[in-house]
């Protein structure tokens, strides 16, 4: 037996203390790199983009070299990768932030009571409202959701709980993947052709828009719900079966509630994905200046189509309609954000509860 209290002599002393860069080092390098890049860029007359790119390169190189000199090779690699990740994040955020800023600055001025409660009916040469387009977008998206959620969710349940590895399930998965790639304009044409056959040639109606959008939504709902259902542990299903609960009831009362938070998030993302579709609605819903609450009859306006036609056919007073297009874009973004927020809250609310 070796005595555990005294370590064997053969073990060399391992130092745990090494020189480290101060915690403010990355920020210091950011500042220095920005200053140096600005100096070089301004003297050579570069654009802002050039200066920013140079600053990023200087930052990554500078921090890595400094770390290599003071710390060790592993720490330098760590600094390099960390800075690259931050640079990538910044680059990814630039378009997002500038888009939101642009839409808010252009659109915020338009928002007022009249803008939100008036339609464009009999409005010529003065600012009107986008009430008709908001109503249209909400109704069409609602119709698409009502069609897609049952179809998508039931398909996902079939795939996970019944189909498994069977050939039919394999085909369904393949077709769903193909559906994901359908160009939205084709979905619009399909809905247009469908309702031309059912009702009559040239029919345009809100429900058709719902059908077209649901073609785009269903694959997203199926895929996300399938992933969520697969995450439900087999243990829970077995626990339920072992209590003598039939399979369908296990699915409805155990599997679905456990996966509910994720399914709701998936559905919301699918809605956010289709709510801004323009091309199919242009074909199947047409565009109109008046409010239409009836999904089953008549043309229906929607926010994307309104934005599109305001920009392409601004009429006698282009400035007014272009401004209104920005306002409509802002409203569209707000609706999508609100949906995401609701999904978050619903996710929190339905998530399996832990802790005391």
């Amino acid at each position: 037996m070796t005595d555990l209290a005294t370590p064997p002599e053969t073990h060399a002393h391992v130092p745990l203390r090494h020189p480290r860069l101060p915690s403010y080092a990355p920020w210091l390098v950011v500042g220095l790199a920005a200053a140096a890049a600005a100096l070089v860029g301004l003297t050579l007359g570069w654009s802002l983009t050039g200066i920013v790119v140079l600053a990023m390169v200087l930052h990554v190189v500078g921090l890595t070299v400094w770390s290599r000199a003071v710390e060790n090779a592993r720490a330098a690699t760590d600094r390099l990768v960390t800075s690259l990740v931050w640079v990538a994040l910044t680059i990814a955020l630039v378009p997002l932030v500038s888009l939101v800023l642009k839409v808010v600055t252009e659109g915020a001025a338009e928002l007022n009571g009249r803008f939100l409660t008036w339609s464009m009916r009999n409005v010529v040469g003065e600012p009107g409202g986008i009430y008709h387009a908001i109503v249209g977008t909400l109704l069409i998206t609602l119709a698409a959701t009502v069609i897609s959620v049952p179809v998508g969710l039931l398909s996902a349940i079939y795939l996970v709980e019944y189909g498994g590895q069977s050939r039919l399930a394999g085909w369904i998965r393949f077709l769903v993947d193909v559906m994901t790639g359908i160009p939205s304009i084709v979905a619009g044409l399909f809905a247009y052709a469908l309702f031309s056959l059912i009702i009559g040639p040239g029919t345009q109606l809100g429900l058709g828009g719902g059908v077209a959008l649901s073609l785009l939504m269903i694959p997203i709902v199926v895929r996300s719900a399938e992933e969520m259902l697969k995450l439900v542990p087999a243990d829970l299903r077995e626990a339920s079966y072992a209590l003598g609960v039939p399979k369908w009831r296990t699915i409805v009362k155990v599997v679905l509630p456990t996966a509910m938070a994720g399914i709701i998030t998936g559905v919301t993302l699918a809605i956010a994905r289709v709510i801004g579709e323009t091309a199919p609605l242009l074909i199947i819903c047409g565009s109109t200046d008046s409010v239409n609450f009836n999904l089953f009859n008549g043309q229906m306006a929607s926010l994307p189509v309104f934005i599109y036609s305001s920009y392409t056919q601004p009429g006698t007073n282009p400035e007014i309609l272009k401004g209104m297009a920005w306002g409509a874009a802002l409203i569209l973004i707000i609706i999508v954000m609100a949906l995401n927020l609701i999904a978050r809250l619903a996710g929190k609310f339905f998530a399996p509860k832990r802790g005391r």
Partner: protein, 259 residues
Amino acid sequence: MAKSIDISDLNIYYGDFLAVEGVTMTIPARSVTALIGPSGCGKSTFLRTLNRMHEVIPGARVEGKVSVDGQSLYDAAVDPVEVRRMVGMVFQRPNPFPTMSIYENVLAGLRLNNKRLSRSDADATVERALQGANLWNEVKDRLNKPGMGLSGGQQQRLCIARAIAVEPQVLLMDEPCSALDPISTSAIEDLIHELKSDYTIVIVTHNMQQAARVSEDTAFFNLAGAGKPGRLIEMNPTKKIFSVPDEEATEAYISGRFG
């Protein structure tokens, strides 16, 4: 109300793989039967055939006969759902339903089967099941808190309460104490002692002392080698198995010698 179980010439397959071969035995009513044997010899597999949970796995099937109180479980006319209501099961890992509170977890077997219960009946059932599982005193003040918020040992006892709330006639337990501390283990062993007056209990365990402490009879499973099917080597009263077993292999396994 407890039932005895007769098993004859049972072969258990996963697809083409024969996992357990030729088991014939009788599990007596109102007593505790322990299943022991090395890892992978098919104890869990065998246990799951006793309430038709085995067939939940795709491709899994059995040959042979299992009858509870004279009724063959694998008869074409038998609904597996009915079998599982009669033969309850506690799993190796505690698996309370994460979306439900402690109270709802205990009632899950009844509620999920859409049994209508009055509020007072439900309360009484919950209290009786939790008392039965030795958990009542620890959770009676937080019945509406999530079941996942309990410790591992408490969760396991919650699963036992859930299993006995539906009043099965047979209770199968697959290593119910393998994740538990000695105090929870002893609470569950006490519980098994109390339950055996009402239930037929079959318990899988890797713990020889536990098998010796809780069971009347012990069945020893072994497998000849990797890829070969597991077999029942011997089944005898626990006292005999642990003192003078019939088979050499049993003696070797129990005393910690192999081969």
